[in-house]
Symmetry: C2
Subunit: 393 residues, 2 copies
């Protein structure tokens, strides 16, 4: 990957089951312009509290991340461990601890084994000689079945730059966000305030537009670091280059978000929910979310059952303004219902054929206004139950 | 059952699969004081729209109910069928159609076969000679595995009376309410406004305090008819007899609601969620609902995994005011976490033992105020997926 001024490392610290790398590091050669979005849950993990405090200044140089333990619901001791591990890593890197972001994912409520961090940190720091971004992507996986990565590239002032991102997801995926970690790096030089805004907008239409099971975690974090090592002039808001950068950022984040849904725990389907004709965009999002989170709808997807009535039922209780005589619904281009009633004819057979695909779109028009929203969801399957009934053991 | 002035009938009208009674009738000898609570969904079935219109006057004499077809998302034609079937039944009974409540449950979006009603109605009306309330309870089942019934009795002015209720539930169970039908009859004479109030309060702490999968249906209906045939003086608000009647009503409804959760689709566990110490009762209900609806929490129950962290995570995103350093949690009498962290020692083993029971209580204290709430939920299992992936076929 052609991205300037970042090094990577991942090691096995025995936080997770043996044989899996579970501790990783991303380091920028220089302090980077940075922004982050964290879980909105009132129950926040220690690393989230610590990182949120540190990123307020808009600068970060490195990220320490572990899987296998969320360091959430661990009280004062959890905070002490988060501070101590980051102190040790910052010392090893020769940077201020304030420039080190920390992130954790895994089981909630179990104290972090500080000694395992301490033992692994020297190798972690040395590992940057040969580590790759892919290594980090693999080390942050929990129930993920594949590592998630995306890259994009652009040009500013005649200088090429790269945007690269990794993510982990699987379960507990829900708008605002999920046990979702995503780390984006770029060597572009970006004006700090513009980076903040472009990043938040990109998160909104990507990670905040996906749901797997409606649960939100204590650890959700999405972080971007822009170190400017490409050498381009600062990318700013409103410029053509700013717009191009925003598009690249959106594309990278949306790809990562969609990979998370595709790898949703036990998922066999990837479904795009498109709402149009709502009284407002907020109403459209309510309707999309109700459909995307409905256990009955998601099991029907799993059963490849063109049960459009369950989708109308979800829209009905979503809280969105609804006139049931104006509702229309399609699976891909097959209209299943129009003005609130079954479209008839061969809709059943054709709709069922759509649902047999691995990916399809459910479009619902509320027929009232011009509000729209798009969300992405998966089906609810036996494998989801198995994974989550047994996750800790 | 010793209840005066009601007759019952149930027949096979071939709306559902053959061999199952699917059309039923409850008739009071005289017009009864009546009240009903319907789905709050914006997508309402034709029978809900029709019954809500008719019950506005506070009087009803009979109920016609079918399973196998919800008559929802069926447009003008669905409304015509609902009116026509009720006209035929009212005619057969010799009462005004305005006194006939109608109710349906089953698949959404399929037109009701009027001819099957027409053919079955004469036998339905004649069947009252030998039919029982139990027959009606059986005829309204869809994916229910057992018929749900409860009775209570009291005395007013020295005259004994009976309150009896039936319900169907299984899936799509969620506060405000569910594909939940419940019909309560009593031969007590009750002052109409008091009946309304006592009934709504009882629904609130019973059917509105249960959840199976977070879905709400287009057809939810809970109806009460008090025909006064016991001959007691009118029971009124504020009197000792009024209070006693309210307790009996609460007991009957709560029993029916709990039976619905116990028979939740695929459920293997019955879990009571008790929230205390919330900033308000509304906050307590938010926290209870988030726990009761969390797929991750419910699969952990199924897995008999004392994963209390997922419960704190659900409380965290519930929207309730939360101070994570004050949260406490118990499974039955085993304290799992105190002041936001693991209670340690033998909590894990003892908590797991609690979760191996078929029924247990999860108590969460938010440690902030005096708001409380209680909800009832089930676990999320492989059987739920199987039932709902295949329901229509």
């Amino acid at each position: 990957m052609n991205i300037k001024g970042f090094t990577f490392s991942a090691v096995e610290a025995a936080i997770k089951k043996p044989g899996r790398k579970d501790l990783a590091l991303i380091v920028s050669d220089v302090p980077a312009v940075a922004a982050a979005v964290f879980t909105t849950s009132a129950v926040k993990a220690a690393p989230v509290l610590l990182s949120a405090e540190r990123i307020a200044g808009g600068t970060a140089q490195a990220l320490l991340v572990n899987s296998g333990n969320a360091n959430a619901c661990t009280g004062d001791n959890g905070m002490t461990v988060a501070r101590e591990t980051s102190r040790l890593v910052a010392e090893g890197l020769g940077i201020s601890p304030d420039l080190l972001q920390v992130s954790s994912t895994g089981v909630i409520g179990v104290q972090m084994p500080l000694d395992r961090f301490t033992a692994a940190i020297p190798a972690l720091i040395d590992g940057r000689a040969s580590g790759t971004f892919d290594d980090v992507a693999a080390a942050i996986m929990t129930t993920d079945t594949f590592a998630k990565m995306e890259t994009g590239s652009g040009e500013a002032g005649g200088v090429g730059y790269t945007v690269a991102g990794i993510a982990k997801g699987a379960g507990m995926i829900m708008p605002n966000m999920a046990t979702m970690l995503s780390f984006i790096i770029t060597d572009a030089a970006v004006e700090p305030e513009f980076l903040q805004q472009a990043f938040r907008r990109a998160v909104d239409v990507s990670f905040n537009a996906i749901t797997v099971d409606g649960d939100m975690s204590t650890n959700d974090t999405c972080l971007i670091m822009a170190n400017g090592m490409a050498g381009n002039p600062d990318i700013t808001e409103g410029s053509a280059e700013g717009n191009a950068f925003a598009v690249i950022l959106n594309t990278v984040l949306l790809s990562l978000a969609q990979q998370i849904v595709r790898d949703g725990e036990g998922a066999t389907k990837f479904v795009e929910i498109r709402i149009t004709g709502a009284a407002s965009d907020a109403d459209a999002k309510r309707a999309a979310l109700a459909i995307a989170n409905s256990s009955l709808v998601k099991t029907a997807f799993f059963g490849q059952d063109a049960n459009w009535g369950r989708i109308f039922a979800a829209v009905g209780y979503s809280g969105a303004e609804v006139d049931q005589t104006r509702l229309s619904l399609s699976f891909d281009d097959v209209c299943m219902a129009r003005n609130g009633v079954f479209a008839g004819d061969d809709a059943e057979a054709r709709g069922t054929a759509v649902l047999k695909q691995k990916e399809f779109t459910v479009s619902v028009d509320l027929g009232i206004g011009s509000g729209t929203a798009t969300m992405y969801t998966s089906d609810l399957t036996h494998a989801y139950i198995s994974i989550n009934a047994d996750y800790r053991s």
